[in-house]
Symmetry: C2
Subunit: 156 residues, 2 copies
Amino acid sequence: MDRLDRRILDLLQHDGSLTAADIAERVGLSKAPCWRRIQRLQETGVIQRTVALIDPKAVNVGTTVFVTVKTSNHSAAWFEQFVRTVRDIPEVTEIHRVSGEVDYLLRIVVPNIDAYDVVYKRLIAGCAFLDVSASFSLETIKQTTAIPLNYAAFDD
Amino acid sequence: MDRLDRRILDLLQHDGSLTAADIAERVGLSKAPCWRRIQRLQETGVIQRTVALIDPKAVNVGTTVFVTVKTSNHSAAWFEQFVRTVRDIPEVTEIHRVSGEVDYLLRIVVPNIDAYDVVYKRLIAGCAFLDVSASFSLETIKQTTAIPLNYAAFDD
DNA sequence: GAGATTGCGCAACATTGTTGCGTCCGGCGG
DNA sequence: CCGCCGGACGCAACAATGTTGCGCAATCTC
């Protein structure tokens, strides 16, 4: 993993439809070795996958909700039940166990508040919580999947 | 936008490297009209773009922090200054104005806690806050960019 | 300093993207 | 009831891109 790989990653995480020839030209390589680097980055899992990003509002799923959760039952059994409950709900796009006041933070994407309530009821039906608190996104000011690659520390 | 478009979108948001022929076969279409549908979805902005997803840990940027922010200055000028401050920080991957106890929620991606502190200092240098509270992700249980497309209400 | 290793570039071939055209189905007006 | 018209599909050809093998140069190792 050198500077070239980093530049390739940065190009691809902003535009995954770039051709190997495009990238080769921009990083100053010919297309075959560039393609092989991309291939290696995929096979080693540095590039997990490439996906299409859909405009949520264009498909009427434009409401994002952040839900914080507290549990009173800090057991492995509760955790497993919790994961089983939330992992397969497609509206739940992120689940983090976090430090601080709350125990878990969920990111939920739904068409509207009514649809959130359906998800909420499905949550509390599958699992016991000490507290569940929803915070609706009124305006998404920025949103990107790009990871900052300015940290030069990882030149192997 | 019909059922076929929805299936195409769902395939592409899980694997953007699928060829038009692959998708055509899975949705029961021949490749030309399928390609034209994909093209139309891109041109109308339903598909915003396709990107490569990078394993954060593979590039040593594996720490996610959720930062909630309160302001005492609810003015348009403050908002503009806030957006200017945070929008161009690459470590800040999401900015939401939210309902509830706090005013804004930021999602920040950094290599470690020290790097978060650098971002924090950059934040408070550019903008005045009533409160800033960080919550570190200790474990990412689920993470996806896929939007739930099970809502059949949008058959135009 | 010689051999081994790694990565690059060139060139050929396979696969996929892209376009034009003819056909079929469904809706609309005569 | 019939014929016209618009939209979407399928087929086939062509252009662009992905993919692979091979030879060469630079670097590292011993």
